[in-house]
Structures are given as structure tokens and as C-alpha cells.
Amino acid sequence: MAAAGAAATDLEVVRGKRAALFFAAVAIVLGLPLWWKTTETYRASLPYSQISGLNALQLRLMVPVTVVFTRESVPLDDQEKLPFTVVHEREIPLKYKMKIKCRFQKAYRRALDYEEEALSSGSAQEAMLDEPQEQAEGSLTVYVISEHSSLLPQDMMSYIGPKRTAVVRGIMHREAFNIIGRRIIQVAQAMSLTEDVLAAALADHLPEDKWSAEKRRPLKSSLGYEITFSLLNPDPKSHDVHWDIEGAVRRYVQPFLNALSAAGNFSVDSQILYYAMLGVNPRFDSASSSYYLDMHNLPHVINPVESRLGSSAASLYPVLNFLLYVPELAHSPLYIQDKDGAPVATNAFHSPRWGGIMVYNVDSKAYNASALPVRVEVDMVRVMEVFLAQLRLLFGIAQPQVPPKCLLSGPKSEGLTTWELDRLLWARSVENLATATTTLTSLAQLLGKISNIVIKDNVASEVYRAVAAIQKSAEELASGHLASAFVASQEAVTSSECAFFDPSLLHLLYFPDDQKFAIYIPLFLPMAVPILLSLVKIFLETRKSWKKPEKTD
């Protein structure tokens, strides 16, 4: 009976042990994964390796150049070799992780009959008027004319037209192709990609030391821009100012923006602000009985005015402000002084990435004629000349570095040549790619560093889309399709910013660890302690029973 009892007890002991082991197993096999799964933050997978690969992206900017040789431009035996293609590749040295190579693919061919005909006319300007066919964005056509052609003035070697064409004088020489090739490269660089343009575009991403504030002048690339013209009248009691802004916008600004429309959407509006003062008191100069604003004071002018300008509530695009300031009677006339103390001819200045301010003095004769307030009609031609020049600067359309002995055609009525627009698109594409890459890299870094951040599927898909768009844009750049490359680069920026600023990233970011422990410990401690204790007990007993047989032996 005792044996039976002992056997029953042993059975019970074994059952207890098994139960304890089973508890431990359930807790470990079922409980732990369940807890892990239900409390983990959802993190969709991201293309980390591709993102890090973007940093070492090699940008190859291909500029297709069609070189057309007229009959007497090069020696006859050289003409026999046409057509053929020469590639000129050069790395643009920038202190930037992205390697940028510039590649001019020159397709040499003979001139067609109608081209010969056009080029035999009076002067280069006329010849360019009837350009043969619409050329793709970013491509160039260079006509090589005979050495003694009267198309260009005698002392000029080349001519850059208002569209995507240029004319280079040929040479009768054994090395004709080499010499002409070098000239063509010079002209093509001036018209498309130079180090300067790219450096300005990448100014935000380059180390500070090399590129000065001058380079940071252009607006950052964006999908669209808002342009606001504001007339500031701080003294409506004395001046009744009228400006024909509607006519001026229609006549001068809109053509320019239409030409620029490939680079983004533009919206223009204007407002008149009364009692809007500048932030600084001008200095009185008794010799000329006029007031002066020193150059070092100019930065302080903007901030007080800006609070009145009104944020553009209806859109997220960057705003360019152009202010026309009619100084109050007590501070008239008002002039802006440059560094040397001489008055600035235009009486205007601009602030990088913000806009421009022009001071418009009321003609002093007006005060004698009539009682206050004096009616002032603003001369919009004078004003718009200044504002349009500032607009060009703020968009980063700089004066090109013209090679020596080159004739530069002025822009047409809209104030912008086609190749200037192309150059802007090149720069903006590169800038967009750099911005998108930086955004994605920092996002990947951030997500890698902080494991609390939830990554939702829509964020992940935006990241994938941005990466794909960057790659597509780089490919399009390498194959010389500027327009589609620019569109893809814009898409890359939009998607990457969309992912980076997604509000869902912040959901769990500020959930501190100590609160987590405060919640988990009361749950885990009472469960874990018995399991651990019984495990320890079972382990000790097992070891004892393992040791026992050794002793008996």
C-alpha cells in the first residue's frame, strides 16, 4: 500500500513538474511572441540600401549638341568624314558627395540645303529668326560657318542666339575639328552647364567656406512660386499714391513668367499697405537736404515691414516680395547708399530668397503745386525694370560667362532666352535631386536611430516612389532628356518631403521608456517569479537526480 501511495505521490510530483514546465513553455512560446507582436511598433520595410546608394550616385548630365557644318567651314577632306559623333566628358569639381559629370555629346553633320540658305543671309540675328525646328529642352545646335562669312562682325568668333542655337566661325586648318571642337565646348558650356551654375544650385548642400552668400541668392527650388508686389505708403495723409500694377503685370511680368512657366507655377498678386514703416530711421544729410539709408542698415528694414505683408495663407509655395516704398514726407527724399557712401543708382536693393525693395521718391515739385495729400502716379516702367532685374537674380538667372570674342544676343521681349531657361532647369534638376537625396538620407538615418517611430505603409510607398523618381531623373539626365528629368526630380522632392513630414511618424515618438516599465512590471513580475522559481527548483532536482546515480556507482 505504501508503495502504491509512493507511486501515486511520484506521479503527482511528475505531473506538477510537467505542469510547471508547460506553464513556462506556454509563457515563452505563446506569451512572449504575443506580447512582442501586439506591442511592437509597425515599421514597414524601407529601401535602406538603395537610399545609402543614392549618396554615391553619379550624375551624368548629358547635353546633346548638334554641330552643323556649312560648306566652306572646314577643309574638304574633313567634310568627307561627316557625320560622326564626339563625346566630351568632364567632371565638375564640387565638394559634394554626389559626383557630377558633364558630358557634351556632339553630333557632327553637314548642313542641309535650307540651313545653308538661311545662314547665307545678312547677319546672325536674322539667320536665327527662322530657326528650323523646335528643339528638345536642353539640346543645343551649333552652326559652323565659313571663316570669312559676313554673318558675324569681323572681330567676333562666335554668336549665342536667343533660342538654343549658336554660330561658330570655322577654320581652314589641318586640325580643324579639334580647334572648332574646343570653341564649341566653350560656347556650349556658356549656354548650358558651368561650374558656377551647379555650385549655385547646390549652395545649400556645399560646405560654407567655398561658396559665399552670393551663391545662396536664388530661391530654393519649388513646385511653384508666389510673387507679391506691395506698395508701401507710410504716409497716406501726404501722399495719395496710385500705381497701375494691373497694366504693369500684364505688360512686363506676365510675359517673363510665361517664358519661365516650365520651371514651376507662378501666381502674382499685389496689395497696397498703408502706415507700413521701415524699421530704421534714415540719416539726414544736410548738404543735399536728403535722407540716406546706409547699406548696413538695410537688413533691419525688412523685419518690421514683413509682419504687415501677410503670409500667403492660401498656398504653401515660397513667396517673393517686391516692395515699392514711397517714403513719408518727413523723410523725403530718401536714398540708399552703398558701401562707399554713394547713392545707389536704382535706389533699390534685394534680399536673397526674400525679394526686393525699391524706394520711390516723390518729385519734390509736386509739393508746391497742390495741397496735401499730393497725388502721386508711379512710373511703372522705372519700377518694373528694377523688379524684373531682381526677379531674374532671385531665380538664379545670372549673366552667363561669355567666352572671349563672342557676341551675345539680348533676350527677346519676355526678358529671358530659351537657353537661360534650360540652364535654370539643369540647375533646378540637380538641386532637386540633391535635396531629395538629403531628405531621404536623413529620414533613413532618423528611422534607423529611433526604433520607436512608426513607419506606415503610405510613408514607405512615398519613400519608394521618391527613390524611383531620383533614379529615373538621373537616367533621364544621362540620356539628355531635360524636361522629363526635371519633372521626375520634382516628383522626387515632393515624395521625399511628403514622407519626411508625415505626421504619423510622430505618433509614438514621445512615449517614454519608464512608463512602459511601469505598465509591464506589475504584469510580468507576478507571472515570471513563480515560473522562474519552479524552473530553478526543477533544474536543481534534475541535477541532484543526475548526480545520485553517479554516487551509487
Binding site: H242, R251, Q254, S270, S311, L388, G410, A518, P522, P526
Partner: protein, 511 residues
Amino acid sequence: MAAAMPLALFVLQLLGPGGWCLAEPQRDSLREELVITPLPSGDVAATFQFRTRWDSELQREGVSHYRLFPKALGQLISKYSLRELHLSFTQGFWRTRYWGPPFLQAPSGAELWVWFQDTVTNVDKSWKELSNVLSGIFCASLNFIDSTNTVTPTASFKPLGLANDTDHYFLRYAVLPREVVCTENLTPWKKLLPCSSKAGLSVLLKADRLFHTSYHSQAVHIRPVCRNARCTSISWELRQTLSVVFDAFITGQGKKDWSLFRMFSRTLTEPCPLASESRVYVDITNYNQDNETLEVNPPPTTTYQDVILGTRKTYAIYDLLDTATINNSRNLNIQLKWKRPAENGYIHYQPAQDRLQPHLLEMLIQLPANSVTKVSIQFERALLKWTEYTPDPNHGFYVSPSVLSALVPSMVAAKPVDWEESPLFNSLFPVSDGSNYFVRLYTEPLLVNLPTPDFSMPYNVICLTCTVVAVCYGSFYNLLTRTFHIEEPRTGGLAKRLANLIRRIRGVPLL
């Protein structure tokens, strides 16, 4: 702002000569007015209205040009295709019982109601975006407007302006009662005024005075109105309104007299040169009917009578555009004085400052015989900072007793006594003459139950959960893992031994 640099002139080939446009009549106009109404309770209400009218279709065209109409709001109208927009921010509550009916009604907090054009396809999306933009413009938390607090009333909110059809699908209405109105809401509101706060009536809008009031309500109303009598085309009207009620006792040091300077700490110095009409109306109705007389200074040039809100009212008008109004003294400070000598009463009130000083209310009242006088004070329960609660906050907080000091007429005329010689118990309070005696009564202290938070709630929950889990789980665990076996009884319990003892005595076999 980075360095600004002078610009080298870039010569452009500009086509054509700059057009000198003919002097066309202005397409927008501004009217401003201030109505000052002394209220029945003795407080003073000031109502500003600034009305900008713009003869423009404001359609969604590429270029828009603003003069008096603020650009920020104009852009909203065209971008979100608004037909009407009504936004008000109010602090306090208009007490109709004491103050009479208000000119402009607004609920406490922020109220926004918008009629969209019928071209809007997704009204809810536009509504959401619009409230977000407005919250940016007015620095308010209108971004908390979402579907949970938005309604589409079908009867109560009709368009105030021109409207051909009133399909309620295009109406959205929301109120945020929690919204606290403060200076940061007033500043952007002031910026929308053409004269900013530099000239005209808007110089009076000084934030620290406007928010030191019993009631503050500012609003923006945009609506389309008829441009001419035949209503062939529409104009847009922007009304910016602001009503405040000044507490007469705080601003007037207990007197009912008031002046512009005393209320706003500013006076009117010059009219806004952009305004086509700039007037101050002072309500002088009540004083003709009452036997009280009052004096308005400077004397008004004209008066205006009309039936307003059901009663006939008389207003004194001061026209700022009239050069005589301001030129006399370089500024205009309208004053109102009560000619009747004030009643033999006195009220001194010193409001409390949080954590610095308590309220003090002193009243000198002459009580009629056999009357009951009740003085009641309303208070609001507020939550303290959680470290400021006493160790037993549920006990309540004491409000010190009120004091009643009185000179009570004596029944019997007492003879004048020698102050030094009289018994001590009767000589603490000096008595001027024998006909009355001095009494000071104290009321009971008041024990106010303030709302107290549950300080230990989160910890309790955690501990409770912990206990429940530990008890359930622990007993289950024990039950399942422990080995139970039957213990063979070696010696019996006390009862058994006792039974055996008795059995042994009786000679019966043991158990």
C-alpha cells in the same frame, strides 16, 4: 535676414511706354464707426465696426490686386470659393439681463460659419482646409474644427448677403467654446485694417485695455452685397467688428463717469485718411428719460434718432472727418459726467490676482428700516495647480468671514461719558455722540469645496491590476503545479484525544 545688397540695374527691353492710367474712381471704400453705449448696469459698451467694401468679383483669376481689402482674406475667398464667412472670437458672455440686447451677437469661444459657392465639389475638404488656414491667420485653434464639432444647420443660419439659392449642403457651422481669446488673436485682426492701428478709430484698440473687460468679442464677416441699387453686380463686404464691455467700477474707480481716455488709455487724434466715413456715436437716450442728468463733453454737433432693437434711441455724433471735431484741441476725448450727486453709497472693489492678493469688496450702504439686504457673490470653481492642494483637499478651502461694521442708532440716548473713566469693556470703540453705537459683526467663514483631482488614480489602477493578476494567476499556478498527497494522521486532534480519554474512562474501545 541675410545681407541685402544694392542692385546693379539690368536694362531690359521693355515693350511700349508705361501706361498712365486715367484717374478712375476707387473701387473700394472704408467706413468706420464706434458706438459707445452706457449700459443699464452702469458698465459701458463700446462697439467698433470697420467696413471695407470692394467692387470686385474676386473670381479665381491669375492676378489679383488689393488695396483696402486685406490680401490674406481675399485669397481665401477666391481659393476656397467662399460665398460668406463669419468668424467670431468672444471672451465672456453678454449678460442681456443687465446689459440689454447686444448689437452683435456671438457665443463664447470661437464661432465659424461659412457658406461655400455651389461650385465647390468637396465641401468638407474645403471646410477643413479653410479652418486650418484661418487658424493660421488669426493664431487661434480653429484647426480643432473637425467632423465631430461641425454641423450643417438647415433653418437657423441663412446667408446674410446676396444669395440666389440656399442649399444647406454648402453651409458649415462650428463652435469651439473652449477657445480663449487673447492678444494674439487681436493683433492679426488689427493687421487686416487698412489704417492698421496708426490712425482713425483703430488707435483706441490697445490690447491691454480691451482684454481688461467683462466682455470682449471680435469678429470678421465677409459677404457679397449689391454694388448698386439695381443690384446688377456684386461687391464684397468685409466687416470687422469688435465689442467690449468695460466694467465701470474697475475703469472708473467706482464712479459711473467715463471718458475715452479712461477706457482705452488713448484719445482720438486724427481720422484715418483712407476712410470715407469715420464717426463716433454716443448713446444719450437713457439720461433724457431718467431724472438723472448728464453732460457729454465736448458737446456733439449733431444727434441721430432711430428705433434700434425695438426702442427709440438718441445718439450724439462726432464726425472725425469734420475738421472742427479734432482741430480744437488736437485730440478728441469724449467724456460723460453725471450731474446728479452720487448716492450716499460707496463701492470699492479690488480684484484678486492669482497667487498674489485676494478680492476685496467694500460697500457703504444705508439700509432702510425693517428691510432685508442680501449681498451675494458669484464665484467659479477652479482647479489649482496640483502642488497647491493642501494635504486634505476634500475638506475644502476657507474663505475668510465678511465683516459688517455699523453704527446702530441707540434706543436710549446715552449721556456723554468720560472716555478715560468709563469701564474698559465699553471703551474700545470711540463713539462720537450718544445717539448711536458702533457694532462690528463677522459672518461665518465659508468653506468652499473646490474640485479636487484624483491624485493617485494611475497608481491605483496599476496596483489593482497587479493584485488581481497576482492573485488569480498565483493561485492557479499553485493549484496546477503543487503536488497534493494525503497526510496520514499520526496523532489525532484535541477533540479526538479528549474523546479517547472519555472512552478510556468509560471502557469503550478507543477511536
